[in-house]
């Protein structure tokens, strides 16, 4: 194999792995915006809480010496529980009082919540690093020529694909999904047609929160879980959904792929531009298509 092909393959693999991670993290954010028109900065908190929660539960689980397989179930459980709990508190306790207010104001409300939750996180888990490497290590690696690919990373790609498929099926093939799409398109009309928009909002937010927590939970085994996790993640999730088009699930997928591959390319070819390249792509896409790649057409106003 030539040098170029090797690098190309490395970029592709790294890109896909990163894209999978990005998609899992960002899809919940996009969904919540699509249905509720809320750009939820606290999504970073869902992610962080999911990571810490999973790390703790997995830690407890493996300390008890239980079989490896259950470890994954533990991560899943942690994510679901945290997502539902946080999501419910946030949506029912606070957000429903600001529905209908200016979009940017709502963003600022979620930013305030994010700040609060950052400290709550620290109060609960302290400032130390937490680890949950067991599931990552347990899956082992696969060797492809000169490259070592972690099976966990491959599993993440699979998970991302699964989530994408479920989202597609859910939105297009189920009755509930069609109601969601109706609300995404025109909230007022949906209400007029008798759709219980309040219920749709509540459930959507929970799903989005769980997805955010998933992102954190399933990332935990790959990293050391430290404070400040949410701060870094949220801004890159923004980049992904902005590129793909706020509120579009296929957009989130495409955005994740673009960002993932670009970043992988930068890491291998131009490491100095690693961070820069993601936002350069974001600025470039927004410059050409302000509403992202998959966006809605606006009707005439006068």
């Amino acid at each position: 194999m030539s040098e170029a092909t090797l690098i190309g393959f490395a970029i592709l693999m790294d890109g896909l792995v990163y894209a999978a991670w990005l998609f899992i993290v960002a899809v919940g954010l996009s969904l919540i915006f699509g249905v509720m028109k809320i750009l939820n900065v606290a999504h970073g908190s869902f992610y962080a809480f999911g990571a810490y929660g999973a790390a703790t539960l997995v830690g407890l689980y493996f300390d008890a010496g239980l079989p490896v397989v259950g470890g994954f179930a533990a991560m899943l459980l942690a994510a679901v529980l945290i997502g539902i709990l946080l999501g419910a508190i946030l949506e029912r306790g606070l957000l429903r009082w600001v529905y209908g207010r200016d979009e940017v104001i709502v963003v600022l409300v979620t930013y305030a919540v994010f700040l609060i939750l950052e400290d709550v996180l620290r109060l609960i888990w302290g400032a130390d690093s937490h680890f949950a490497y067991q599931p990552y290590v347990a899956l082992g690696n696969v060797v492809a020529g000169d490259m070592i690919i972690s099976n966990y990373d491959l599993a993440l790609i699979g998970l991302a694909g699964l989530i994408a498929l479920t989202a597609w099926w859910g939105l297009n093939r189920t009755r509930w999904g069609k109601l969601l799409v109706a609300v995404i398109h025109d909230r007022e009309m949906a209400t007029a047609l008798g759709i219980n928009v309040t219920l749709v909002f509540a459930i959507t937010f929970l799903i989005g929160a769980v997805l955010g927590a998933f992102g954190g939970a399933f990332t935990a085994p790959k990293i050391s879980v430290t404070p400040g996790l949410g701060v870094e993640v949220i801004v890159i999730a923004f980049a992904v959904v902005a590129i793909g088009g706020l509120g579009s699930i296929p957009g989130a997928l495409v955005g994740a792929l673009i960002v993932g591959l670009c970043r992988a390319a930068a890491v291998h070819l131009f490491p100095q531009g690693e961070l820069f390249v993601v936002y350069a792509v974001m600025a470039l896409v927004l410059a050409v298509r302000p509403e992202g790649l998959f966006s809605r057409v606006q009707a005439r106003r006068i």
Binding site: V104, L108, F238, V277, Y279
Partner: protein, 311 residues
């Protein structure tokens, strides 16, 4: 009304100048940083009145700081006033370039694109060794038209420069906001179509405002750099932009005095909170923001105005 604002500003300035020789160093430093921040908030106020929120003022803040810092190190420029003008000018040029694109956007897309540009700078700064990467760079000691103070005198000099800049900025912004173009802020926020049909290019007005806000943020960045003596990529990070927006809301946008009052109060509370309750100061900040948005949407200034009008 205009006379009263300018009168108040002048009075406060005189008091502050006298304070420069009486207050302890920590108070001078705090005030310097606060007023530098207030300059950024002044720019955000103009945009807010036009219905726009920038989540990327840290771009110009960072540009200002780095321009001044690097001009000091690489070009040997040490005169603070020169550095101030340089930083503001560079920031204004960048704002002009960014504004070409940004002025076409509104609402959440304006916010997101402004965020993207500031993160561009952040990424650039972090990944560039020559610019100090994540550690940043120390500023060389500034001089003031030949006068090269040290220690307490330096802190006082930077402070005085800052309050003079604050006064001039507030005065100029006040004039702008009362001018025909400045008065278009609310109309644009209210009904852009009507503004266009009256014969004004909304995009041009917004472009102008982006440049003004950018220059102001640049000045803020230079002054902060001079006060702190150090610049790092954090100046361009999104949380820095968020902090500026946060102060804008807390302070209220009812007057050019509001950003200064708000920033000073914020800086005071933040430094006490970080000293005595370091574990929950973000929580308190978030709570304060939340309460302000929900119950006092006009910010602190609206409370002040209400009392004054009611009296």
């Amino acid at each position: 009304m205009p006379d009263r604002t300018l009168g108040v500003l002048a009075a406060v300035f005189v008091a502050a100048a006298i304070g420069g020789f009486l207050l302890p160093q920590w108070a001078l430093f705090l005030s310097t940083v606060a007023i530098a921040k207030a300059l950024v908030v002044l720019g955000l106020m103009i945009l807010w009145r036009t219905g726009l929120v920038s989540f990327g003022q840290a771009l110009y803040y960072g540009v200002g700081g780095y321009a001044a810092g690097l001009a000091g190190r690489w070009l040997g420029l040490s005169d603070a006033i020169l550095l101030l003008l340089l930083g503001g000018a560079v920031a204004a040029v960048i704002a002009w370039a960014v504004g070409l694109l940004l002025a076409r956007y509104r609402e959440i897309f304006f916010a997101m694109l402004s965020l993207a540009f500031s993160m561009l700078l952040y990424g650039l700064l972090v990944n560039t060794e020559a610019l100090g990467s994540t550690d940043g760079v120390n500023i060389t000691q500034p001089s003031f038209l030949g006068y090269a103070p040290g220690g307490g005198a330096l802190v006082r000099s930077v402070y005085l420069l800052t309050i003079v800049t604050g006064l001039i900025a507030a005065w100029l912004v006040q004039i702008f906001l009362r001018s025909t173009i400045g008065q278009l802020a609310s109309p644009i926020r209210d009904n852009e179509i009507r503004v266009e049909y009256l014969g004004v290019s909304v995009r041009s007005v917004i472009h102008l405002e982006v440049v003004i806000a950018g220059a102001l943020a640049g000045f803020g960045g230079v002054l902060t750099a001079l006060a702190v003596g150090h610049i790092d990529p954090e100046m361009a990070y999104w949380t820095t932009s968020g902090g500026f927006v946060f102060v804008t809301i807390l302070a209220g946008t009812g007057s050019v005095i509001a950003p200064f009052l708000g920033a000073l109060l914020f800086e005071l509370v933040q430094s006490f909170a970080m000293t005595y309750t370091p574990d929950i100061w973000q929580l308190m900040l978030g709570a304060a923001l939340l309460l302000t948005i929900l119950f006092v949407p006009g910010g602190l200034w609206s409370l002040f105005e209400r009392r004054r009008v009611g009296a």
